[in-house]
């Protein structure tokens, strides 16, 4: 059986080498992993020579495991259609594995793959997530369409991984909002009545954030993920968030996956410059977060808190910038 992962909800930020891909997903949007089932690939299509005459005979890429009388569906490359028929005979000889069907012969019939709906009765795809290193017991199932294609939408599980409330309590400069974000890995497998196939890992580490996105925007949060290809904005709807002096305030941002433990080490630098009414800088604050502390922020939505005690009375506005630099 050939199971192909046709598409994933990642988004390419930079296609030129080195390729940069965003694996950040919004929980409130559909996040589909598209899979396709192709039980056997067809290497040749021909007209039957024996009984029944005038039908299609297909040469397969592997030994046919079904039985005579099985209901099958064959994809015809010529007109991109699925044709349903029955297995009339089959031969698992060497070197060919052939299946004789009752599908009427057509000279233009170009078989691509064959699915046996009797052998794999009740076929569906199953997916499961490991969220923040915890394997989730809930799985996702989806039945394929007539072409053997199905979407496993992981957003239902991601949505219940987020919680109401706020972890950031304005006590330190940068705090991870662990109840609004996290990471996960995805596995999938084919399933049918009585099966217990091995899980196939999808090789990437993904990240989720509690966000609402329109269909036009798509579920990927690439525009909020800062990478070597470019900086990103804060995760905030205000183009210029307002700081009401004296009141608790923080602003959210996505801390992307960073490589720690390499040489040279890296650090997160937060630069806050405060200005007076004449737009002159009057104070400059740099706060560095080094690797041990940085580990708790990676792959999370974080909140940047600005201490009101550090704001001078003549300050009318400030600029905030976050960088990842060499320590």
């Amino acid at each position: 059986m050939n199971i192909t992962l046709l598409s994933i909800p990642a988004k390419v930020i930079q296609s030129a080498s080195p390729e940069i891909i965003s694996y950040w997903l919004a929980t409130e949007s559909a996040n589909n992993f598209e899979l396709q089932r192709r039980d056997w690939l067809i290497t040749a299509s021909a007209e039957t020579t024996g009984s029944p005459a005038g039908c299609m005979e297909f040469t397969l890429d592997a030994e046919f495991a079904g039985a005579i009388g099985d209901v099958i569906a064959v994809y015809n490359n010529y007109n991109q259609s699925m044709v349903v028929g029955h297995v009339m005979d089959f031969t698992n000889g060497s070197p060919d594995f052939t299946v004789v069907t009752d599908i009427p012969y057509s000279a233009t019939f170009d078989g691509a793959y064959l699915n046996d709906h009797t052998l794999f009765n009740g076929f569906y795809f199953e997916g499961r997530l490991t969220v923040n290193d915890v394997l989730q017991s809930l799985t996702i199932v989806a039945s394929p369409n007539s072409f053997g294609i199905a979407n496993l939408d992981v957003s239902g599980i991601l949505r219940i991984m987020t919680e109401l409330g706020k972890n950031g309590d304005y006590s330190t400069m940068v705090m991870a909002e662990t109840n609004k974000s996290g990471k996960f890995t995805f596995e999938y497998r084919p399933a049918w009545y009585g099966s217990d196939e091995s899980w196939i890992p999808e090789s990437n580490t993904w990240y989720y954030a509690e966000c609402v996105r329109s269909i036009e925007q798509g579920s990927n949060l690439a525009e909020f993920v800062g990478t070597d290809a470019g900086d990103a904005p804060f995760l905030n709807s205000f183009p210029q968030p307002v700081y009401f002096l004296g009141m608790p305030f923080d602003i959210s941002f996505i801390c992307p996956a960073l490589t720690l433990g390499a040489s040279p080490a890296i650090k997160m630098r937060i630069t806050i410059t405060r200005y007076n009414a004449a737009n002159e800088p009057i104070a400059y604050h740099i706060h560095d977060i080094h690797e041990p502390e940085l580990a708790g922020l990676i792959g999370r939505v974080c909140s940047l808190n600005i201490d009101p005690d550090e704001i001078e009375v003549t300050t009318t506005h400030m600029t905030v910038k976050i960088e990842i630099i060499t320590a």
């Binding site: 904005p233 009141m247 941002f253 009375v313």
Partner: protein, 338 residues
């Protein structure tokens, strides 16, 4: 990683302060309107519900697009004197104030419920802080304080601790090996910075040798042992100000030994002459020999004032070098006397 973003600062207005989560955390100070109370029950259990009509105030189109997200938020909290309290936002209206100036206002109502079982028969719920406008402090022009500032920065810059001196925030950025930008915000170019290594072992011979790019809010300091720039933790000292009634005088002279200028401090009569390479005689009128002169080169160099001799009540000979070789250099110096 994150774009530089401007954050305007506004004094709070009398009203209610909300935070909500909708694609990130948002905060806004709303004006309060009519407050309504609804209680149920009397003798054994009373619950109370309070409703408050809120207005965002008149804002522009960018702000209203963000503020209206409170209507779609799954969770919204009200700031109270007991901390953040969950509240429910009822549907509201976004009112277009005037089409020709693109001004908008969000009008909505929040519902705050009571969970407390009544003990005295009636309960109207938790006290809610109305955010009042604190009295704005008087505008004070930052004055140059006559003082000495002593601090320390680490080899990678950044962490600066203050001890002594005025409560002024200074930060240090390590921009290159042995090159540090000190943001002092003194509002003047008349000051001197001196420093020594605060770190033993291999960089114990490093010190603050020169200063350059001097302006009203920052300057660059070069740290080196001989002619080699090094990163090192440095304990440093900045002096500035009028200092007219103290026994301190700060000035600078040029490498050719033709010009000497006093920048500030108790007025002295200075003269300068270049005796040989890196060797200068400075004349003064301190009148005795109980004084010290220290100095740093001016420029992207590692030359500093290394020695003083032929110390007289009217003159002193100083020598400048980066390693064991004397060098001419523009120099900023400080005299301190008894």
């Amino acid at each position: 990683m994150i774009n530089e973003t401007t954050i305007p600062i506004i004094w709070c207005r009398k009203g209610y302060y909300l935070r909500w989560y909708y694609n990130g955390w948002h905060h806004w100070n709303f004006f309060s309107g009519t407050v309504g109370y609804l209680t149920a029950g009397e003798k054994y259990r009373t619950t109370g519900i309070r409703t408050v009509e809120l207005s965002s105030g008149v804002v522009g189109v960018d702000e209203i697009s963000a503020i209206r997200s409170v209507l779609n938020a799954r969770e919204c909290y009200l700031y109270t004197d007991g901390g953040w309290s969950e509240c429910r936002v009822q549907s509201g209206n976004v009112v277009v104030q005037r089409n020709n100036i693109d001004a908008y206002e969000l009008l909505c109502k929040i519902v705050i419920g009571s969970r407390n079982v009544s003990t005295d028969g009636y309960s109207v719920g938790k006290t809610i802080t109305i955010v009042t406008t604190p009295a704005p402090p008087p505008i004070v022009s930052p004055e140059i304080q006559n003082d000495i500032y002593v601090g320390r920065f680490n080899a990678y810059g950044g962490d600066v601790r203050l001890f002594g001196g005025i409560d002024r925030f200074i930060n240090v950025v390590n921009s290159d090996k042995g090159v540090y930008t000190i943001y002092h915000y003194l509002g003047t170019t008349k000051f001197i910075t001196l420093g020594v290594s605060d770190y033993g072992s291999i960089y114990a011979a490093s010190s603050l040798r020169a200063m350059n790019s001097i302006n009203n809010y920052s300057h660059v300091a070069n740290i080196s042992d001989d002619a080699t720039f090094n990163n090192s933790a440095i304990r440093f000292f900045i002096n500035w100000g009028n200092m007219a009634d103290t026994k301190i005088a700060v000035g600078e002279f040029d490498a050719a030994g033709t010009t000497i200028t006093q920048l500030y401090g108790t007025p002295l009569t200075f003269g300068i002459s270049r005796v040989a390479t890196g060797t200068y005689d400075i004349t003064h009128d301190i009148g005795h020999v109980n004084y010290i002169i220290m100095g740093v080169g001016k420029g992207n160099v590692s030359i500093s004032l290394r020695s003083m001799d032929e110390i007289l009540g009217t003159s002193v000979r100083v020598r400048l070098s980066d390693d064991a070789v004397l060098n001419d250099c523009d120099t900023r110096f400080i005299f301190i006397w008894e």
